[in-house]
């Protein structure tokens, strides 16, 4: 089956991102395809490389980046939601006159059209939120 994943909450505060990650990993191990992972609302906060969580617990951002690299996953952060919350890549920083960027490896910033396409192209769209 082809799945698309929507993550609507940020790391740690809600378990949504953990559940989404665990589902994604399990689906891949079972031989399914992940068409796209789309991060919306506070979910965009999964895409900052600036987190330093305690060492004795999971690193939510890094394991998304690692999983994406391992499986060639397409992880998209919504540009509108990212602008509201301060997640930027170099292009966004330049375009909006900011003095830095913070996007984590494996994530790309794009529009809501990517979410709509993800819903259309996959067999199932799963929404992980609060």
């Amino acid at each position: 089956m082809k799945f698309s994943i929507m993550v609507n909450e940020g790391p740690y505060t809600h378990q949504a991102s953990d559940t989404a990650f665990n589902f994604t990993r399990a689906a891949l191990e079972a031989g399914h395809e992940i068409f796209r992972i789309f991060f919306y609302h506070d979910g965009v906060n999964n895409g900052t490389r600036m987190t330093t969580p305690p060492q004795d617990d999971r690193h939510v951002v890094n394991r998304w980046s690692e999983l994406a690299e391992q499986h060639g996953l397409d992880m998209v952060v919504c540009v509108a939601a990212a602008q509201r919350r301060g997640i930027l890549d170099a292009d966004e920083a330049k375009r909006n006159g900011k003095d830095g960027d913070n996007i984590a490896p494996g994530f790309r910033i794009s529009g809501l059209g990517q979410l709509i396409e993800a819903g259309i192209e996959a067999d199932r769209l799963l929404v992980f939120g609060d």
């Binding site: 929507m6 609507n8 919306y40 609302h41 509108a80 939601a81 529009g111 809501l112 059209g113 979410l115 709509i116 396409e117 819903g119 259309i120 769209l125 929404v127 939120g129």
Partner: protein, 128 residues
């Protein structure tokens, strides 16, 4: 199908959910919106945020008809639980080009059971 479960203010889900609907409308899909639980408050008429410095985005719902989003299902039980009735909601309409551009109401009140059947029929369900 876009399922809306939260009140218009207090969290951002209603506003950002509406943004998805408006952008999604450009993709020529067969869409509808559902309002359940506190989501029914999104359609309440007479919203006024002037005391709180937060943008009142309720007028945006009026544009949905122009974007071909003309099926807004509101759950009856959710209205009743909150002491609301159809008359408390904004009068949202759309123009039917197949019927001489007659103006028709976009909001339909449905029961929980009818909603369940509607959801069965969807290809994609997003919820906010």
């Amino acid at each position: 199908m876009y399922v809306n479960r939260r009140a218009p203010h207090g969290t951002i889900y209603a506003l950002e959910g509406l943004e998805v609907v408006l952008i999604g409308a450009a993709f020529d899909q067969d869409v509808c919106m559902v309002f359940i639980g506190d989501g029914v408050f999104q359609l309440k008429k007479g919203q006024d945020t002037s005391d709180s410095d937060i943008k009142n985005f309720s007028p945006t719902y009026r544009a949905l008809g122009d974007y071909d989003v003309n099926r807004l299902y509101v759950e009856r039980e959710s209205l009743e639980d909150r002491g609301l009735a159809g008359g408390d909601l904004m009068e949202l309409t759309w123009e039917d080009e197949d019927d001489d551009w007659n103006e028709k109401p976009s909001i339909q009140l449905v029961s929980r059971q009818e909603l369940s059947d509607l959801m069965e029929a969807q290809d994609v369900i997003l919820n906010f």
